[in-house]
Amino acid sequence: MVIAGIVIVLAIVVMTALAPWISPHDPSMEAGPVRAPPSFQFPMGTNHLGFDMLSRTMFGGSVMLQVSAFSVLLCFLIGVPLGLFSSYVGGILDNAVSLVIDAVYAFPGLVIAIAVAAVLGPGVVNMALSIAVVYIPSYFRIVRSQVLSIKELTYVEAAKASGAKWYTILSDYVLPNVVPSIVIVATINFADAVLTAAGLTFIGLGVTYDIPDWGWDLTNGRQYLSSGAWWIIFFPGLMIILLALGFTLIGEGLSELLNPKLQR
């Protein structure tokens, strides 16, 4: 499961990275007739402007990959240290931070992302920011729940007794034990970020039309469906599903491997 997921994700990353060299046409240039169905010349057809869909599919992952990678990085850099510090210190600080985080966590994620994106405006960085706001709580919560039990363990006690500073304890003794859970959250976060980015694009808060993007193609292709041009939305949609599926498989596989209750 994990391996299948990694293969899917890697394949998409490699395809997107190599797109400038392997794509048969310029993704934002007229390559043939308008709305041509899939054929030998255009294996995925062309869109309403005559752009080659195969080339657009090869290029189109870059926005999503950037948005999801950037948002995961942001969540990681904010959520993990915050969770470590807050739960290790405990007391009023921990309670206050938890209360705020729980309130965000309980809120419909997409609605927060929409509200933040509406305020910030479209673009890759803004999309990543609005998605990060939604998923920081997941990191915080998982880190916190682990730290609360780890910090009572005897080896942490021993480290304290030997005079280790609090930041040494957190980084060298506590963090390594939290990493597996963070990795699982991060992969699921990747999948969610891809889907959220697609959703934001669908409601018009994504990138502009001049950048090839699966989400944009899917959204825009919708209006040509009644004329039977299914290929304009089908291939971008399939790619989004594959990318999200790849990350989900990695996350699910890992969490199953790490759940001792299910191993007989």
Binding site: F107, P108, V111, A191, L218, S226, I240, E252
Partner: protein, 345 residues
């Protein structure tokens, strides 16, 4: 702690959460962008116009005063009694009461959410139980695969595919709106078309509204069912190994009694919690589903207001989403306490 004191504590605990939520919504809408009025006009208005709108909406007052007005407006009982909806301020596009606009579109979202949740949880639980009973078999792998794939499908893509198949090609089901335009909707009692039409004995309206509901709620329900499949399966697998299940089997109880009467009853509590948590995701997904199916609900409203840069209305709609989620999580926690006797101890 008895059940009653648990209930009271839980209700009291909702208050700080709500207040925090209101504060965050306010901060996001008012502090992050700078000036909503200037954003509304996109730099095209003359200063006099901007200033007069600011005054009309009370946005010229200090931020703290605005905050107080926002929070106290929401809990203003007199206003609520006079209008039938809470005070959420005035819309920037037409100076209508945002609360009234939101309360008129909200039932559409609620109806969609209820039916989607039923579809998601029933299919999810049934499939999850079936998978856990045949652990590691082909059926189990198939169901798990299905659960994983549905999780990865963008809800609007599934919606578009459904529209294409059942609407455009087969002409079986309507692809937009809550009821066919030629059928007069039932008079408003609850605002839920299916309930209102039954109350009034209006068979045509009932069938038409069910037909219109089918595609959107199936779309949203299927996308969410994956989580229920996974959770039910994992919990059932853990529960089926416990001694009391073996004991029940040893006593010669039928397979179904053991599965549904014993194991599922115990595995159900985490699923119930998940229903509460997923309700937030459901409302998020509802925004996209409503957009796909031109469903005239709160999600459609918020998107419409985003395009007209009506920040007071966006703030009101986001607040409404928050209130609903807080209410649902309160109800789920109370149900949990009712079902799980350990909480009462």
């Amino acid at each position: 702690m008895g059940l009653r004191s648990y209930v009271i504590t839980r209700i009291l605990l909702t208050i700080p959460t709500l207040l925090l939520l209101l504060t965050m919504v306010f901060l996001v809408m008012r502090v992050l962008p700078g000036d909503p009025v200037a954003l509304h006009f996109e730099k095209k208005a003359d200063p006099w116009q901007v200033e007069s709108m600011r005054r009309q909406l009370g946005l010229d007052k200090p931020l703290l005063t605005q905050y107080a007005e926002y929070v106290f407006g929401l809990i203003d009982v007199n206003y609520f009694l006079a209008h039938g909806y809470p005070n959420l301020g005035k819309s920037m596009s037409n100076f209508d009461e945002v609360g009234g606009q939101i309360f008129s579109v909200f039932p559409a979202t609620l109806e969609l959410a209820i039916y989607s949740m039923i579809i998601a949880s029933v299919t999810g639980i049934l499939l999850g139980v079936a998978a856990s009973k045949s652990y590691n078999s082909v059926l189990d792998q198939l169901i798990r695969g299905l659960g994983t794939v549905t999780y990865a499908v963008p809800v609007f893509f599934l919606g578009i595919v459904f529209q294409l198949i059942f609407g455009v090609y087969l002409h079986w089901l309507p692809t937009s709106l809550r009821i066919h335009p030629s059928v007069p909707p039932p008079a408003t009692v609850t605002g839920l078309f299916t309930v209102d039409s039954i109350l009034q004995g209006n068979v045509i309206a009932f069938f038409e509204s069910v037909k219109a509901l089918l595609l959107p709620s199936l779309t949203l329900g299927i996308v969410l069912s994956g989580i229920f499949v996974r959770l039910t399966r994992t919990n059932m697998l853990e529960t089926l190994r416990l001694d009391f299940v073996t004991a029940a089997k040893a006593r010669g109880l039928s397979e179904d009694t053991v599965t549904y009467g014993y194991a599922l009853r115990n595995a159900f509590l985490p699923v119930l919690t998940m229903m509460g948590l997923q309700f937030a995701a459901l409302l998020g997904g509802a925004v996209l589903t409503e957009k796909t199916f031109s469903w005239p609900g709160l999600g459609g409203y918020i998107l419409d207001r985003i395009s007209s840069r009506d920040y007071t209305a966006i703030q009101g709609a986001v607040t409404m989403f928050g209130l609903v989620v807080a209410l649902v999580s309160l109800v789920v926690d109370l149900l949990y306490a009712y079902f799980d006797p350990r909480i009462r101890l």
